[in-house]
Structures are given as structure tokens and as C-alpha cells.
Amino acid sequence: MTKMTYAEAARLALKEEMERDSTVWALGEDLGFEGGMGGQYKDLQAEFGIDRIVDTPISEATIMGAAIGAALAGTRPIAELRFSDFAMCAVDELVNQAAKARYMFGGQARVPMIARMPIGIRGGIAAQHSQSPEAWYTHVPGLVVVTPATPADNRGLLKAAIRCDDPVVYMEHKGLWGTEGEVEENDSHPIPLGIARKVVTGNDLTIVTWSAMVDIVEKAALSLADEGISVEVIDLRTLWPWDRDSVFSSVKKTGRLMVVHEAVQVGGFGAEITSEVSEHLFSMLKAPVKRMGGARIPIPFSIPLEAAYMISKEQIINKSKSFFS
């Protein structure tokens, strides 16, 4: 085990996969010198050359479109979009081309690519740099959606995403780049897509969450344990496919479900989970399902306003307690 940051773990995964498979490459703005927003490409250009870590013009539609073409033509590109907000400049390419090529060409084509687009709030970068649109991509047939929460997961899931033969929307969280965690350096296995991680085991309430909220929910669960409420915390890790079995078996045990995500609550992916659980585990529910997501407002700039959008440990604790009062 080694300690490394979320960004370093991603960098390690990419490096390993690039060494393993010469068709793996990445393209995006400022990957060379800058090494990516979080350093997740740091020094890789020096190692693999400018044809495999490609600095591009500011042309998001083409970053995405070129990745699709390159995938169709036999390589495994990683399209780096820097912010999921900017990836919206290339939504057409992602949704109308990458997601559909395999299907609409009747299986002739495969699109083994990654659309890498960090999500989330990172302190004052405001409305156009802080969004978490993961729910959109769960709604698009053909796309896999991954939202790693820890350094170890960012290594293992990125490796799985690179090896996946279908397009993967890979959403790191900007606020996590610098967080540290244990990573098993010698185990270079990918983490299978679609398998959740049980963060905390508990009996009274299941909280399903992902990305940067995992850590906050975990802390809330530990506090709640002190107060005698035993919370099971599930980090979904991938939103499509989502680990229905793990969630369902946890809710069967606890009888209570809350989903917590940073994204706007209305139309968020939390609704899919609470909706499915409500439909299929109705008779086992001891209390109504609950969601905690962001208000339906653009992310504001000013500190207190941004804080008003975010979900705190205390709010999670309070809402969790409300299940039992």
C-alpha cells in the first residue's frame, strides 16, 4: 500500500495502461506542460511523446469527435474535456455519435473511448465551472458513467474504463484531486464497472452516494453511529450500470433509503434510485425514501451563497435522524 492522491492514482492508471497498450492515448488542451487541471497527466507527455499525449486547439467538439473517429479506427483515446461544463460544447458528438455508433451500425462499430470530464464544486469557480451533470449521461443509451470517489477507485476504475469497449463518461471530482488515500501499487487490476463499494456497514438506514459526497456521508455515518444510528453507506462508483443488487440487498436489510448527491436534486440520478427502490421494495420500506441534492439554482460564486448550495455533514445527520423521529 502506498499513499497517493486521487490525481496521482489516475495518473498511475493511465501510465500503466499506456505502457500496456500502445493504442491508448489522450487528447485535450494543455496536457503537456500543465499536465491536466489536477496533474493527472503530469510528465506523461515527456514519457510517451506528443502523439500520445496530444495538446489540442481549443476545439471541444473536435476533441470529442476526433476521439470517436480514433476509436472507430482502432485506438483507445481519452478525450480530456477539463470540466464537464465545457464538455457540453461536445454533447452532440458524445450523445449522437459515440453513444450510438455501435448500435446504429448494427454492431459493426465499437467506440472504446473515454470522455473525461471532471464535475463538481471547487471553491468559487461559479456557474460555468462547477456543474455535476452525471444524470444526463445515465439517461443516454450506450454510455457508461463512472464517478470515482477515492484514489484507489480512481486508479482501478480508470483502468477499467480504458479497457472498456464502449464509450465511458469518466467524471472525476475537481474537489478531490488533492485528497490522499491508500493505493495497492502492486495490484494493477481494474475495478469492474457496475460494482458498488460498501463504505460503512450498518443496519438502520442505507445511504447511497458517490463522488465527493462519499467522504462527507461517511463522516456523517460515523457521527450517527455515536448517536446509536447504524448507517450503511454505499458508494455507487458507477452510475451506469448502477449496482442494483447491492443497493437492494442493503435496503432489504435496513428498510430505509436516502440518496445523497451534489448535483441538482430535481432530475438528478438520485430520483432513479429512490424511484426503483420505491417501486420494487415497497413492502420492505419502513419509511419513505429520501433524497438530498442541490437546489435548482446555478452555482453561485460568493462563499456564503456557494455554501448554501452545498450539502453539509450536519444536514445529512439531521435528515438521517428524521427517519427515526
Binding site: T23, W25, L27, D51, R52, V54, T56, P57, S59, A61, T62, M64, G65, A66, A67, I68, G69, A70, A71, L72, A73, G74, T75, P77, D92, E93, N96, Q97, A101, R102, Y103, M104, F105, G106, G107, Q108, A109, P141, G142, L143, V144, C164, D165, D166, L193, G194, W240, P241
Partner: protein
């Protein structure tokens, strides 16, 4: 007209036969659209056949090609099986995409035809990426991207021009300028001197030619494809042509002056190629026979298509993605 090589008339005659095949395909497609056998949209390539055939004559099977909504001609010219294409238009088993795509998504990856496209100019960015893969894999293939004159005003195309030149990619852009985009005369919505000037502003060599002149298209493509394969970087050909039919099969094109269409008919590539062939000594009988054969072949394909089975409903749920259950939420 360039100096004629010994085998030239035979070669051109073969190309002409491909043009006949395309025309027969398009006529059959429209007919079956009107008869209700083909659904969706059918964009006929009638009047533009010399471009696809002249360009693709100079490509290898492993060269790549991307197209736009008007993609039947490019597919046939690149070597796709018109029978499988007709089955696709009918939505049947045996279609190029098993009936999942239809006309607007016609594709045959076995001959490097990476797909028509329902979204204008999206093939352009895909092409530059495919070209990057070609370079990365150290292949000596090239890719041809066809685009309409209306499509040149979409940003992704312009980004792709810049991109192709920045990385000196082996891409041949072919703008088929039929002077119209759906119901809109493109010069009314296209500023400046058009695509040739734009390409040049990115440092991309560009040339405008008469796209209805099969021999000229062929000759131009021969030179440029060679240059690109030899590492010239991207180039662009603007091929002037005319869309003889409506935008799609259900468009009567009433917005056009009939006299314009009439004069265009005089300039269309089929009779022009015929005249050349006759001048080279190909007999009228041979030509008529070729026409008949194309039509008969197409009639066979159409009847095959009628008889081919419909896909099984379970096919709707395959080829989606390897992980996750696409049937979650299905109403089956």
C-alpha cells in the same frame, strides 16, 4: 481531357457502371419510399454520382471514408454491397446494419465506410480523429470526408479543418457543392468566397472542380490521394454539382426554378460520361446493356429485400453496450 491510357475506356466504363448502380439504387430507394416499403428519410444522390465514383476509384479498400446524410452513393462507390444496403433501407435481416440504422446511418466497416451521418458535419471531426489513429498506428491509409455545401457553415467542420492541418493529417475533404441545402440556396447563407477560400485560410490546399466531369474528378483525386498518402497533409476538393431531385424523397423541390433544373439536366454526369465513352468507341448497345443490368440487379435486390425476414424483436436490445441491462425499463 487528359491523355487516354490504353485501358482507360474500360476503366472509365467500369466507373460508369458504378454510377449506374448508384443511380439505380437511388431510384429504387425513392420508389420504395413512395410505396411505403422504406421509411424515414431517403436523400438521393442523383446527379452527383461522378464525385463519389471518381474519388473512390482512387482509394484502397482499407482507406476510410465518412459521409453525411446523402450517403448511399459514397457507400456503393467505396465498395459496400448494394443488396445489403437495400435490405437495410427495408429494415430487414441481412441489411448492412441489420435494420438498426436505415438510410441515414448506412455504413459498411468492412470496406472502410465508417458511416453516413444524420447530424451535419459530425463526420468531419470523426474523420480527423480517424486520421490521427492512422498516424498513431503507422498505417499508410488515408480518410476521405464528404460534406455538403450547407454543412460547411457548422463550426465542427471549421474546427476539423484547423485540426487536420495542425497535425498534418491524411484527410481529403470533399465538399460536394450542389448549391443548395434543403430548401436554402447556400450562397445566401455563406459569406465570402466559399469553402475553397476558407480551406486556404487554414493553409489547406484546395481546388474547385466540375464534379459532374467524371474524368476530371478521377484525375484530380488520383493526384491528391497520392499526395496525401505521401504525406502532404490534408487537402480539400470542392466539387461543383447539382442535386437533381428534392432534398429527400418526400420533397418535390417546388422552391426551384424549373428552368434551372432543366439546364442542370443537360450538365449531369451520366450523359456526359456516356458521350465520352461513345467517343472512345464504346457502343450504344454496351451502354444500354449496362443500364439494363443495373436496373435488373436493383430489381432483384428489391425483391430480396421484400422477402428478407424482419429482425427479431430481441435484436432491439443487442449491440447497445457490454455492461448494464438495456432492457431495464423495457416494455417487453
Amino acid at each position: 481531357m487528359a491523355q487516354v491510357q490504353t485501358n482507360e475506356p474500360a476503366r472509365i466504363f467500369n466507373m460508369y457502371k458504378k454510377m449506374l448502380l448508384i443511380r439505380a439504387f437511388e431510384e429504387a430507394a425513392a420508389e420504395n419510399f413512395h410505396a411505403g416499403n422504406v421509411r424515414g428519410s431517403v436523400h438521393q444522390y442523383i446527379g452527383e454520382e461522378a464525385i463519389a465514383v471518381g474519388i473512390c476509384e482512387n482509394l484502397r479498400n482499407d482507406d476510410l471514408l465518412t459521409s453525411y446524410h446523402r450517403g448511399h452513393g459514397h457507400s456503393i462507390a467505396k465498395g459496400a454491397d448494394p443488396r445489403a444496403m437495400m435490405l437495410e433501407l427495408f429494415g430487414r435481416v441481412g441489411g448492412t446494419s441489420g435494420g438498426k440504422g436505415g438510410s441515414m446511418h448506412i455504413a459498411d466497416f468492412s470496406v472502410g465506410m465508417l458511416g453516413a451521418n444524420g447530424v451535419i458535419a459530425d463526420g468531419c471531426t470523426i474523420s480527423v480523429g480517424a486520421a490521427q489513429a492512422i498516424k498513431l498506428l503507422k498505417q499508410d491509409k488515408i480518410i476521405v470526408n464528404f460534406i455538403g455545401d450547407g454543412g460547411i457553415n457548422r463550426g465542427p467542420f471549421m474546427e476539423a479543418l484547423n485540426w487536420a492541418k495542425v497535425y498534418e493529417l491524411p484527410v481529403l475533404f470533399v465538399c460536394e457543392n450542389n448549391q443548395i441545402a434543403a430548401t436554402t440556396t447556400t450562397k445566401t447563407v455563406t459569406a465570402g468566397d466559399g469553402i475553397e477560400a476558407r480551406a486556404k485560410s487554414y493553409g489547406i490546399p484546395a481546388i474547385t472542380i466540375d464534379g459532374n466531369d467524371l474524368l476530371l474528378v478521377d484525375r484530380t483525386a488520383a493526384r491528391i490521394v497520392d499526395e496525401i498518402r505521401a504525406g502532404s497533409g490534408p487537402q480539400l476538393i470542392q466539387a461543383m454539382t447539382y442535386r437533381l431531385k428534392g432534398h429527400y424523397a418526400h420533397d418535390e423541390a417546388l422552391y426551384r426554378n424549373p428552368s434551372e433544373v432543366e439546364s442542370a439536366l443537360k450538365n449531369e454526369p451520366m450523359p456526359r460520361t456516356e458521350t465520352w465513352l461513345k467517343d472512345q468507341g464504346v457502343s450504344i448497345e454496351e451502354i444500354e446493356k449496362a443500364k439494363d443490368e443495373a436496373k435488373k440487379l436493383m430489381a432483384n435486390y428489391v425483391s430480396d429485400a421484400h422477402e428478407a425476414p424482419w429482425p427479431d424483436i430481441s435484436d432491439a436490445f443487442t449491440d447497445v453496450q457490454d455492461v448494464g441491462s438495456p432492457a431495464e425499463g423495457t416494455n417487453l
